[in-house]
Symmetry: C2
Subunit: 314 residues, 2 copies
């Protein structure tokens, strides 16, 4: 098979042996693979794939057709449209995934949308509902509302009956983010729009001191992005005064059972909302596999709302 | 009635009008009232009672006999032995408490134990089980194991099947703390005894950076005491790496429904363990009401394991 290959920071498309599905696993003919911030870090050697996943081939999410079943796999049949988060190796013509980590692709979604769905929607759903336990009527603040996880979080929270405010640095993106259902504001002065029951922190340390003071009683901050900084000052008395919580979370390092559980939750609680049109996957641009370098450049350049997705073998 | 009275930082026993129970409230003839760190702060003008509670009369917990019932109160009858956390006014011959905040006193407990039970056991139970959701088999670290909340937390966690390590500054206290079921260690070098699933922080900021790195995967830190410092550095990436949580919490400012819920949980999950002898209230010293100044001095001096309790009108 052909696959994106990282060697010393450069991206090439190279031939690799076809992977073979083991017990309970499914071989997927990949049709689309979304790009994520973690791919950029992995390219720079900063964020290796967890053990057991391809190390040279990047790619954290896929959508495609079932090509073959390993021994004992029975959730899907050859030709079924499936998608999943993977630990690595997604940007390739073929990928092997445990059947418990796969989700069916809703009929209403084309390949580019399906290939850009798993990572950001599983991440946002896990952060908002499994971690922070966001409830209807609550007020959510999303720091970094124009990014992939941000746009997913805004839509999920709105669909669940929450009110959403989102900080968006680029002024041009605010109307697009507002169209997803959030009050889109500049990052400066966000506490004036609170208090917030839940704050989804996708930017990092600089927001944290004000995040804590902007919490409502019983409020929760979930930190899953720290590109703007890692170390922050925490005032414990301020956190106690609002009886607040700060969660740190990541998806990639989780074991099979937790990733499978997150996939089941998405199937049950989120995928029906794509079928009804309440949710959508904003796709900024697609690239063929051969143009992977251009795709990574477009991702790194930023400036557009929506996913960058590789389309493979169509 | 006679009551401890704080005026400009001095403690006196003075006459006050008898309080009268309103709708759903109970007049309690106080027999014992434990001292707490918050009383010391209140004496210095730093921690006023919440609105609606006596402001001049300190005292956050009581045990006594039901003296009279307000309109509609029906959970208890005159003469019943009861105890409660109160927002203030506990160090007095009479106190008024809503019947939903009262708990029955287990037969096995004398007045001094009952008067020193509510604050530390409700606080520890709320922090460990309602907030951190401590589970059997988990490893708990208590920072400040020789204090009132610390000794309650150690016993509660052991009774629930958790393993407990406790930091204790005074070397002389370590054997007493170990007798409660914890591995008692010096505060220095505590991370070498981890990783910990739950850390109960009763000391404050200085421990926090190492608390985060000493967490097990999915670990929780609950901060309810900050006498050693309020501001700390937080490494968000370290918190994300263990998918950890930091909770801040206090009891005193909570509304009636939350305090009542905490009392119901204690009745249901904890009081039966006093009846069987699995739990006990360590009492260091008791003082008559007239000697309240000496009682506060003994509390402030520290150095003894167990509660300081005022005995009233016996």
């Amino acid at each position: 098979m052909r696959a994106v290959t990282i060697k010393d920071g450069t991206l090439r498309v190279e031939d690799h042996p076809d992977p073979e599905p083991g017990a309970g696993e499914v071989l997927v003919r990949v049709k689309a693979a979304g790009l994520n911030g973690a791919d950029m870090m992995q390219r720079r050697g900063l964020y290796p794939a967890p053990p057991g996943w391809p190390q040279e081939i990047p790619g954290m999410e896929i959508a495609g057709e079932v090509a073959a079943l390993g021994p004992g796999a029975r959730r899907f049949a050859a030709g079924d449209r499936v998608m999943a988060i993977v630990g690595g190796g997604g940007q390739a013509e073929l990928a092997v995934v445990h059947e418990r980590e796969l989700m069916p692709v809703p009929e209403t979604l084309d390949w580019s949308a399906a290939g850009g769905l798993p990572e950001v929607f599983v991440t946002a759903h896990d952060a908002l509902f499994t971690q922070a336990q966001l409830r209807p009527g609550e007020h959510l603040l999303v720091h970094g509302g124009a990014g992939g996880v941000g746009t997913a979080a805004i839509q999920l929270a709105r669909a669940a009956g929450a009110r959403v405010t989102a900080t968006v640095r680029r002024e041009q993106a605010r109307a697009e983010v507002a169209a997803l259902g959030a009050e889109a504001i500049a990052p400066e002065g966000f506490p004036g729009h609170g208090p917030f029951d839940v704050i989804l922190e996708l930017v990092g340390a600089p927001n944290m001191p004000e995040n804590v003071t902007a919490l409502a009683l019983g409020g929760r901050v979930v930190v899953i992005g720290v590109s703007a900084g890692v170390k922050t000052e925490l005032n414990l008395l301020a956190l106690m005064a609002v009886r607040g919580r700060i969660h740190g979370s990541t998806l990639r390092a989780r074991p099979l059972e937790e990733k499978a559980l997150a996939a089941r939750r998405l199937e049950h609680e989120v995928l029906p909302l794509f079928a009804t049109g309440a949710l959508r996957v904003p796709v900024a641009e697609t690239f063929p596999l051969a143009d992977v370098a251009a795709a990574y450049e477009a991702f790194a350049a930023g400036g557009k709302l929506g996913k960058i997705v590789l389309l493979i073998d169509q």
